[in-house]
């Protein structure tokens, strides 16, 4: 795994940029631990002050410092994305590897269900979920719901890798030497699957953060937990744009965009690395 990271850093400008952008956002989120104001407090600073030396990103109409508020928002948003990614990884790795290794009827049944989850439009379902939960909605609950709905596409990718591993000689060797199915899958195959798991984790985080921002902006989550979407929601509630308080919207949007691009660059550079043809081409080893 370290060798892969070293190669990626050396040969891929996209990966380097992705690391820099993501690290910047993570560092920014970590600042929330030294914030002078608790995230829920209002009217701790004068409201509606434009960006200045005293308040770098300005202040909101609710008397909150946008800079410190945003550190909490980014932290919660990232934690949310990470939680969904980890939870849905459990499902997608499980189903993907099992389906790929078992093949046959089990594979066909699982992949039919899988394709179904890919096709179903999830946004109306999540809105429906909020609609019945209302005040009981919390972000762990939303994360769980999204993990249960958002594993399918990644399971398909993981399955395709598992499928190709199955025909490799070392698999047969392991079978003949008496290893059990779960041992082969966990000990022999998992290391080969990890790069694609990394790739899908980044993509899944982007997906879940995007949906979380969307649902929050509409007010369809717990609007007391500060996330990037919730910040924009409150800015909209106070008609910040009409009132000319552009900094309240601009900085959350800017930072979440940096996060999206950073994660996406990490994902695609890893994905290209997995494909040997493009790896060789990049290192100047082969035509194409």
């Amino acid at each position: 795994m370290f060798a892969i990271l070293r190669d990626l850093l050396r040969y891929r400008p996209e990966f380097r940029l992705g690391v820099i952008l993501t690290a910047f956002i993570v560092a920014f989120a970590c600042l929330s631990f030294v914030s002078p104001y608790p995230p829920q407090d209002q009217f701790v600073v004068p409201p509606d002050v434009p960006p200045s030396w005293a308040y770098w990103f300005g202040t909101t109409s609710r008397g909150q410092d946008v800079f410190w508020q945003l550190t909490f928002a980014i932290r919660n948003t990232m934690l949310f994305g990470f939680a969904v990614a980890v939870l849905s990884r459990l499902i997608s790795i499980g189903i993907g590897m099992w389906s790929g290794y078992k093949g046959g009827f089990a594979d066909r049944v699982l992949m039919s269900i899988n394709d179904t989850f890919i096709v179903i439009p999830l946004f109306p379902l999540l809105v429906l979920f909020y609609f019945v939960m209302r005040d009981k909605m919390s972000w762990p609950l939303l994360a769980l719901a999204m993990a249960c709905l958002g594993w399918a596409y990644d399971a398909r990718l993981i399955r395709s890798v598992a499928l190709s591993l199955k025909t490799r000689e070392f698999t047969q060797q392991s079978v003949f030497s008496g290893m059990r199915t779960h041992e082969i899958v966990l000990q022999e195959h998992l290391p080969y699957v990890l790069p694609i798991v990394f790739y899908t984790t980044m993509n899944n985080m982007n997906w879940s953060i995007g949906l979380e921002v969307t649902l929050s902006v509409l007010g369809f989550t717990n609007i007391d937990t500060p996330t990037v979407g919730v910040m924009i929601y409150w800015a909209n509630q106070h008609t910040a744009l009409v009132a000319g308080i552009w900094w309240w919207i601009f900085f959350p949007v800017l930072f979440v965009m940096i996060l999206f691009i950073g994660l996406f660059l990490l994902a695609i550079s890893m994905n290209e690395y997995i494909d040997p043809r493009s790896r060789l081409a990049r290192m100047g080893g082969a035509p194409g």
Binding site: P124, L125, V132, Y153, L211, L241, F264, G288
Partner: protein, 334 residues
């Protein structure tokens, strides 16, 4: 033809499965949660003023019928399915007594139109540019286009739509930013009305295309750059076939079929994007209706929209799947 029939049957089975699982998910979400929609509506309705206990009891009774949540769990399940299959979700609470199906029927064409136009534009443009970028790898313009696609693609629909709204609503107000047509224009087949529909659609379509195009672009570019190393392409080049013809009939044609499969697979998320974008621009489609329904506490309408969305997207995917063999004749043979 026989092989096609088998293929079509398989796709039809998948279609039935998608609808079945999707509707069951909607049922589970609404019925396994501890919250009772009837009590919610009752408490919202009786929040102000005093209502007599008898009246509340009567309200409860009629709401239970209206929402289809009376009787045993099995009865409720059957009622739920009957409503979806017949397409009758009862009257809407927020626009009483207009039936939910009428409201959805009014909104659906807008969403379908927006989705179709923007998907065709982004799919065609993205694949064309991506194909060119994969084939002419040294072109500076195409490399720059690749970087732009890479930067815009990961940003979710809502944020892009929001940024487009800010740019054209506040910084450079030249296009209408809200609604589907001009309010004071009469409905009819005349140029003024058609023009107002087109100008109102520009921004929603543009923001959907902005997000959508990058994925097709990058997918096609990597597919094409793999296809060009195939032997038959080298052979065609050596045989002196023109570059334009190689790109069109040898390279793009082969790279296109996985992209069409990709289109069928990503239709659900494109649909999500469309209804979110609609909400931003106040476009009179399903998305705006859905958000209004949630704010108005209209249980039947929310369930109706979720169910219709699932069925509509599955139908669209089925159509793409059934047309797919026209593009890739290998499906018919195998």
């Amino acid at each position: 033809m026989n092989a096609y029939a088998i293929y079509a049957l398989k796709r039809l089975f998948q279609f039935v499965l998608v609808v079945f699982i999707g509707i069951n998910l909607a049922y589970l979400i609404t019925h396994l949660t501890p919250i009772d929609p009837v009590e919610q509506t009752v408490s919202a309705a009786t929040m102000f003023g005093s209502t007599s206990p008898e009246a509340i009891q009567m309200m409860r009774q009629s709401l239970r019928e209206l929402y289809g949540v009376g009787g045993s769990a099995f009865d409720q399940y059957v009622t739920f399915w009957r409503r979806v299959l017949v397409g009758d979700f009862g009257p809407s609470l927020s626009a009483f007594p207009t039936p939910v199906s009428t409201l959805i029927g009014r909104a659906l064409p807008w969403t379908a139109g927006l989705l179709t136009v923007s998907t065709i534009i982004s799919f065609t443009l993205g694949n064309l540019l991506g194909g060119l970028a994969g084939y002419y790898r040294d072109s500076r313009t195409l490399k720059a286009a690749g970087i732009v696609a890479m930067a815009v693609h990961p940003i979710p629909y809502y944020i892009i739509a929001f940024v487009v709204l800010i740019v054209f609503g506040y910084l450079w107000p030249v296009l209408p930013i809200s609604g589907g047509y001009r309010m004071n224009t009469a409905w009819g087949w005349n140029t003024a009305f058609a023009l107002s529909i087109i100008t109102h659609a520009i921004l929603p379509v543009a923001s959907l295309v902005l997000v959508g195009i990058g994925g097709w672009f990058m997918g096609m570019r990597s597919l094409v750059s793999n296809v060009v190393t195939e032997d038959y392409v080298t052979y065609a080049e050596l045989a002196g076939v023109g570059r334009g013809k190689i790109l069109r009939s040898y390279v793009m044609r082969n790279a296109l079929s996985p992209q069409v499969t990709g289109l069928a697979m990503s239709l659900g998320s494109i649909f999500n994007g469309a209804i979110i974008t609609e909400q931003v621009f106040g476009y009179p489609g399903l998305g705006t209706l859905l958000i209004q329904a949630v704010h108005a506490g209209d249980y039947s309408l929310v369930i109706g929209i979720a169910s219709v969305s699932i069925v509509a997207v599955s139908v669209a995917v089925l159509v793409i799947d059934l047309l797919y063999p026209l593009l890739d004749p290998r499906v018919k043979v195998s």
